[in-house]
Symmetry: C2
Subunit: 318 residues, 2 copies
């Protein structure tokens, strides 16, 4: 399931240790442990893996030192998913019941808060310095602003610029921060830190565009999500923007309370357009940009893994 677990960039051992660290993160309290352990299972670990690979861009690095921060990154991601699932009223995520479905909204809010706090505790105890905490705080702030912008403009057609702003805040800045944190904690030069951040930003845009495509073209068995979920909840993404030549599609997606039949029809209309090709081309352009920015000076093994990661992100079917 791990997107680069077969790549030579990371020893398997570190991924096993990451899982152990995540388990330990929720071991302080019996209820938290019971509630959070299933929530932490089954993620792709994209963010901590990007962080760990980036930390090797200057050569080898000490994984033990990096583990708490890698775990903190995944905890922040998980916390944000727990909070996302609350009003989406999502019942299932990563193949298990959401906190919301199991314990109700209020407890789900608190579980998410706990995971955020635990992440910052790992960071404090890992002694990474203030710049690391500041990057993490900013990324959470951006995540919140991105989600708020999305929630306040449901069923409204965004401009291309607004769409890009949203996916940058929601996803790309997070991935970019993971790369930045890796480079920073490895003590790389500023120019390499910036290059890796930029790689992460382009990668993140490609990742989110691909994610948005999967809502129309994905395999439900692989993604674990029902097709058309975004549009049903009013989130208007790039494939829809591309297919808006259809007035019928426009009238479906801008009206609250879309029926299941209308969701199917909207998917048909998007599929009948050139949205797939268009969005793939855009995603590939961002991947290409990500590749180009990879500085020639970084460790060639790492560079290769990062290139593979970028390619994988647009080709994935989950």
């Amino acid at each position: 399931m791990n997107f680069v677990s077969s790549a030579e960039g990371l020893p398997t051992k570190i991924l096993v240790e990451l899982e152990r660290k995540l388990e330990s993160a929720v071991g302080d309290d019996p209820f938290i442990s019971e509630a959070c352990t299933p929530l932490l299972k089954g993620g792709k670990r994209l963010r901590p893996i990007l962080f760990l690979i980036s930390s090797r861009a200057g050569g080898s690095s000490s994984y033990e030192k990096l583990l708490p921060l890698a775990a903190a990154i995944e905890l922040i991601h998980t916390a944000s998913l727990v909070h996302d699932d609350i009003l989406d009223a999502s019942k299932v995520r990563r193949g298990v019941s959401t906190a919301n479905a199991k314990y109700g909204a209020q407890v789900a809010v608190l579980i998410g808060d706990y995971l955020f706090a635990k992440a910052f505790e790992f960071v404090a105890n890992g002694h990474y310095g203030d710049e690391v905490s500041a990057i993490l705080s900013r990324l959470v702030k951006n995540l919140c602003i991105g989600e708020i912008k999305q929630d306040l403009s449901l069923f409204t057609i965004p401009t291309l610029g607004e769409y890009y702003e949203r996916i940058a805040l929601k996803t790309a800045i997070f991935l970019s921060s993971c790369c930045r944190l890796g480079a920073l904690t490895a003590g790389l030069e500023r120019s390499m830190i910036e290059a890796l951040s930029s790689y992460g930003m382009s990668l993140g845009l490609a990742f989110q565009i691909t994610d948005d495509l999967l809502d129309f073209f994905g395999d439900e068995a692989l993604t674990g999500k029902k097709l058309g979920g975004d549009l049903k909840s009013g989130v208007i993404t790039l494939p829809i923007l591309r297919a808006l030549g259809s007035e019928e599609l426009r009238s479906i997606v801008t009206r609250e309370g879309i029926s299941d039949g209308e969701v199917e029809r909207a998917i048909e209309l998007v599929r009948a357009s050139d949205a797939l090709m268009y969005c793939r081309r855009r995603a590939e352009a961002h991947v290409e940009a990500a590749r180009l920015v990879l500085p020639t000076m970084i460790d060639p093994t790492v560079s290769k893994v990062l290139e593979q990661a970028a390619a994988f992100i647009v080709d994935r079917s989950w």
Copy 2:
């Protein structure tokens, strides 16, 4: 409104600057600014003030240096209130509409997350060191666990021990941490840090017991809260525990969906018992404990302010 604003312990200037710092905390984004500015107004500022006073226990200290952390403390408190109000479905807090009532639950979750993140950003940028971040993370974790325990045991009669555990997690550890942070950032000796933490813990217990009393005996015009709110939502507090000799009271408070008439009846029953005297005696005992622990070596002006603060906390009617 500030509980020690008239005390000689703190110059007014610092409180004005705290307000300014809080305003600046939500200035990064227009929506966040609009949504959060009213939420941050009208608080008693008990927690940052305790922090600031404690920081003077060893003599004078540089307030400029302490302001970001003082603001971070109040941001964390406000974030937790925003999240609390979500499923309480509270409509009004501190005299203004809750985020929940104004923007819906999902956006309220994100606003709370934003405030938490901003708090940790202030801390990172204030360069207080990892112990400060770790204390704040732990206090948020304890807050979450306290609230979760409360939410999972609504309409259930706690033992006295369970009641105390809950108010420690929800309130007293927070107040204790404020004192600890003050002493720590002022560079005081370990023994003084522990003494001030212990003062804060006792103060916090007294504060929460008094708060729980106000739900039955408070002046709605002053507290801004309707009487009986806790019991209506299923939170069984010390005054109820004391009055449980009444079988009628027991049957009202352990049943979900308490009518307004039953709330009034329950308030009558608690008032007819000796709960007021009992709870006040307990609160006063904690205040006395708080006073006793104040080390003789701390600055006498500060010691006097802290004693006044403790006395004020049980005498307040809001």
